[in-house]
Amino acid sequence: MSAPGLTGSAGTTGPAARALRLVPVALTAVVLLGVWQAAVTLFDVPAFIMPTPVRIAAAFGHDVGTIMSASLSTAKPVLLGLVMGSLGGICVALAVSRFPRLSGPVLNAAVLINCAPIVALAPIFNNWFGVTSLLSKAGVAAVMVFFPVFVNTTRGLLQIEPLHLEIMESLAARPRQVSLLLRLPNALPFLFNALKLGTTLAVIGVIVSEYFGGSTEALGVYIAYQAALPRFDYAWAGILVSGALGLGLFGAVTLLERFLMPWHESFHEESA
């Protein structure tokens, strides 16, 4: 009576092993930064084309207060937009999966809205909610997040193994039970894929819409201002911090995913 996947030795799953898995990541980062620094110095690339990492770090250190308060005020609409867009996408997906006849028209409408570029959405939302309102920035992010969440979650809710449906039928399950016990858990992997896409989209959406007015204490404004001066080392520092913001959100979603779906096949290897 063998149970594959149960026989992993403790050494491969402990926290020490986890830390060990970070070593290649850190090494890659160090090597990349080293190559960058060496290449810029060696080929004498002017700073406005590509500053060295050391210069960017110095610029960040010099302006750390401004950059951090700017990122904090950027992070708020990013988070709010991510939450609003995800909830909206999930709700509409639930409605569509319950009434599949809606799916065609709703999908078309979603595509239409998703095609509206940020340059159009940002001024429109500024107009609607007020240029300084958190909602006008978060709204842009929400629209961008909504689309992948809606499309993927709908798929996950509808793409059910026929055998699973038949089992629920043999158990005389009511439609609500089929939704709750089968469709929703089945959609979770699809939802998390979409959320991962959504994190980067939300960051992009907010940063770009910050160009269109609002508080000047914002990453998008900071990057645009420094690039115009031109102080590209400072602009790059802002760019890297916005990247870190996206990475942090991505990591948070991944953690949540592990917590909510420890059963998923993408995590099998680790416990093996």
């Binding site: 009576m1 063998s2 149970a3 594959p4 996947g5 149960l6 193994e161 055998l163 699973h164 038949e166 089992i167 629920m168 039928e169 043999s170 158990l171 005389a172 399950a173 039970q177 016990l181 089968l182 858990p185 089945n186 979770l188 779906m261 420890p262 059963w263 998923h264 096949e265 099998h268």
Partner: protein, 264 residues
């Protein structure tokens, strides 16, 4: 048959794509009475409609004509009352639920209280001897173990009838024989009526109190053969002359069954 009937099938026909030129008669004039506590095998070549007959009894597909009662009711009412449990060829466990939570599913759907379905699921895992795997996820189990979980799940709401649609078909020979023994032991414990679909002659003979031999195109009942080998049957049963004799009888009935309707 001394026992009262639990399932009765009268003149049941099932035609797929009826009315079109691709119409296929899956079942023709099926008459079958199954007594309470029997272990019945539906045996036949692929395409003989044995799975379709099972699905008609389980109300997963409707007959084209004819009547049947399951546990004294229309099949739909029997399904709504959860009078039967069902095991398919694939275990079909929900991969996001632990073994224990998979077994809890039928009673949870039936609206039982949590402490009730938890206790019952633990009891069922005890029955299939997988208690220590309660917290595992399906992917961590072998195919045979998954199928035992599926059996525990099917029995967890104390059904009167257990429908099994080639439940051991996906397993290798060794696992298959071991699980046949397990199944008889479980049946000895719970004493439900079992309707078991298979295309293996020896499996049908080893397990059943009666083998219903079906012929293909259209699916008909060709013969009913009582298997009077005493229970409990063990691995030793498989080597007795009586067992071989029964296997021979069933094989003869299978081969004498009209295989294809003579084409014009």
């Amino acid at each position: 048959m001394a026992e009262p009937a639990i399932i009765s099938v009268r003149k049941v026909n099932k035609v797929f794509n009826g009315g079109s030129d691709r119409a296929v008669t899956a079942l023709e004039d099926i008459d079958l009475t199954i007594g309470r506590g029997e272990f019945i095998s539906l045996l036949g070549p692929s395409g003989c409609g044995k799975s379709t007959l099972l699905r008609v009894m389980a109300d997963l597909t409707a007959p084209t004509s004819g009547t049947l009662t399951v546990n004294g009711k229309a099949p739909g009412a029997a399904r709504a009352d959860r009078d039967y449990g069902m095991v398919f060829q694939q275990a079909g466990l929900f991969e996001w639920r632990s073994v224990l939570r998979n077994v809890e599913l039928p009673l949870q759907v039936a609206g039982a209280k949590k402490e009730v379905y938890r206790a019952k699921a633990e009891e069922m895992l005890e029955l299939v001897r997988l208690r220590e795997f309660a917290g595992h996820y399906p992917w961590q189990l072998s195919g045979g173990m998954q199928q035992r979980v599926a059996i525990a799940r099917a029995l967890s709401a104390d059904p009167e009838i257990l429908f099994m649609d080639e439940p051991l078909g996906a397993l290798d020979e060794m696992n298959r024989e071991r699980l046949q023994g397990e199944l008889l032991r479980i049946w000895g414990d719970v004493r439900t009526t079992v309707v078991f679909v298979t295309h293996s002659i020896s499996e049908a003979v080893f397990l059943s109190s009666r083998v219903v031999v079906m012929s293909a195109r259209p699916g008909r009942v060709a013969a009913c053969i009582d298997v009077d080998l005493p229970y409990p049957r063990t691995a030793a049963t498989r080597t007795t002359p009586e067992f071989f004799e029964k296997v021979k009888d069933v094989r003869r009935a299978l081969h004498e069954a009209p295989s294809e309707r003579a084409a014009a």
